[in-house]
Amino acid sequence: MDNLLYGRRLTKGELPIGFVVDDRIEISPSVTIGDRMIRCHRCNSMTAKNIASLPNNQFFCPNCMELGRVSTLTNLYHVPEPNDFNADTHPLTWDGQLSALQLNCAQKVDECMRDKKRHLLWAVTGAGKTEMLFTAIANSIARGERIALASPRVDVCLELYPRLQQAFAEQKICLLHGRQTESYEYRQLTICTTHQLLRFYHAFDNLIIDEVDAFPYASNPQLYFAASQAVKPQGGCLYLTATPGENLMAMVRKKELSISYLPLRYHGHLLPEIKLKLVPSWRRQLGNKKLPGSLIQTLKQRLKNKRRFLLFVPHVADLSSVKEGLERQLKINVTTVHAVDEKRLEKVQKMRDHEIDFLVTTSILERGVTFPEIDVFVIGADDAVFSTAALVQIAGRAGRSVSRPTGDVIYWISSFANNVSDACAQIRFVNRKGRKLQH
């Protein structure tokens, strides 16, 4: 239990009963009181006093309560990270091969982590970025460093964990996220949600944040703070993304971050570019359970040629009328799926098993779920529910396999909105970089 506080900051409630507070432990307030606001030292948020108030002139932070409440009644307990590891000099048990491009990128990542840089790796969807981290992580472990691989999304963590555990078979990896019951262990390599980083303080020599653009990280300054605080003052931070948002690019412009690109997918092809079709009145048509003629034509052709596809719609509420319209106009059965669909996994599996040839879905399938050899269509892509990042990710669902490295990506829009033009521009930008590498 001695190492529980190494590189972390915990409240008394998070410590085991009977925990002895000795003089190695640094104690600091978790919430301090200002004039009109209080400041939380765990999540760095400021809250108006009247919202954060408790009786007797005490205050709590309402912004990080998922981790257990902090307040003026609780202190934070911390022991500086001692890097108390028996470092394995050859921890990598993975024996796969990287392509020449991936190898190049892997070396760059290795350099960054060696030099503790703050770096952004912009790698397109399907570039195979996890494998490119292995050498750098192995070398970091061999140097006796403490490393974390964090993602805003639990599902990404759950997917990374077995892959990393297999690649580093002798290492015991600590996995942390909000939905678990396993307890914390002091390990050289940690995989966690970015939220869990709030419990760390100057712990990591290198922190890697995967899918950094994903909700909720992208728009959450609290989690940027968590990341910067979890890393040692001289530590390195590597951001990985397929769709960098404005925040990150601004940091690149201000030279707070260095940047490198992997603009080609693992099979060496470019991202498919988005074709746009303007259908200003599609919403009104949908009210009469009718879909645009060009969409119907496109789908008919795909069905005839047995080309499988995903059709994205903006809202769960659109699914039923799109289904009804398609079933009437195409005379086929339509399967729809959304985030809280009870039969979601079952339906996705049917698609994988080729029992059905297409799915009509909301943006929930944008990440993680991949089907080979598909085309991707969006109706109402200009709807504000689709972020630029989501639109790029959706496009990235097409052309994932070597057997069919290209695919059609067509977005039907009612007007030219910023999210759509930004997504098109982002794809054209990486493809320009990609073309240079292809020749």
């Binding site: 409630g13 919202i51 108030s53 408790l54 009786p55 007797n56 309402p62 309560m65 409440r69 009644l73």
Partner: protein
Amino acid sequence: MNCLLCGTQIEIDFNLRELVLPMKIKKRSICHQCDQEFERLGGIRCDGCGRSQKSIDLCEDCQKWEHQVGFVINNRSAFEYNDAMHEYMKQYKFTGDYRLRSVFTTEFEKLISKQQPDVIVPIPINKSTWQTRGFNQVTGITSNLRLIEALETINGSKETRQSKKNRAERMSSKQPFKLSGDVEITKKISHQRALIVDDVYTTGRTIYYAANLLLTLSPMSISSVTLAR
């Protein structure tokens, strides 16, 4: 403003009366959907503990109380302790989200004033709860009422949470309270209609202990109101 329970944006539905009398607009702290998850108690109930049943006759539990302590407390509760209430209590009491104190204030205070009490006595919390949670969950909810803090917890009484005990353990727990040492406070109880307020009525054990003590101050009557049961 976002719903304090689920975080979604609350749509304000103005009705005509509210438009005419803008002062009347009630600030809602939870959304309509969350609100519907809570089950308001009404209808025919046990004349003692207030549970819903077919007649107003004393239920078995209340008969046991009558047998054991010689009297029955008339208790009324605003809500059924269902899953939604359980979640609310978890978030409010155990996570300590003090913002949630206002969610049921209006309804709870209405039920209290319906009993027409002269003095309202809250169930106190112990010292260690003051040090960790930092608030009394009952007095948090009843922020607009004048409360007479005639009861205190006994220091050093065992600090296991009631909610972590089973029924038998609750029933056999020792008297956790004592009367306030302040005579100015305790004398306010005598010859008055006293009402005990608590957050949840489970076995009645807590309220009967509180009532036992208050009885020694010769009130005119004692009844109780809890937020949930």
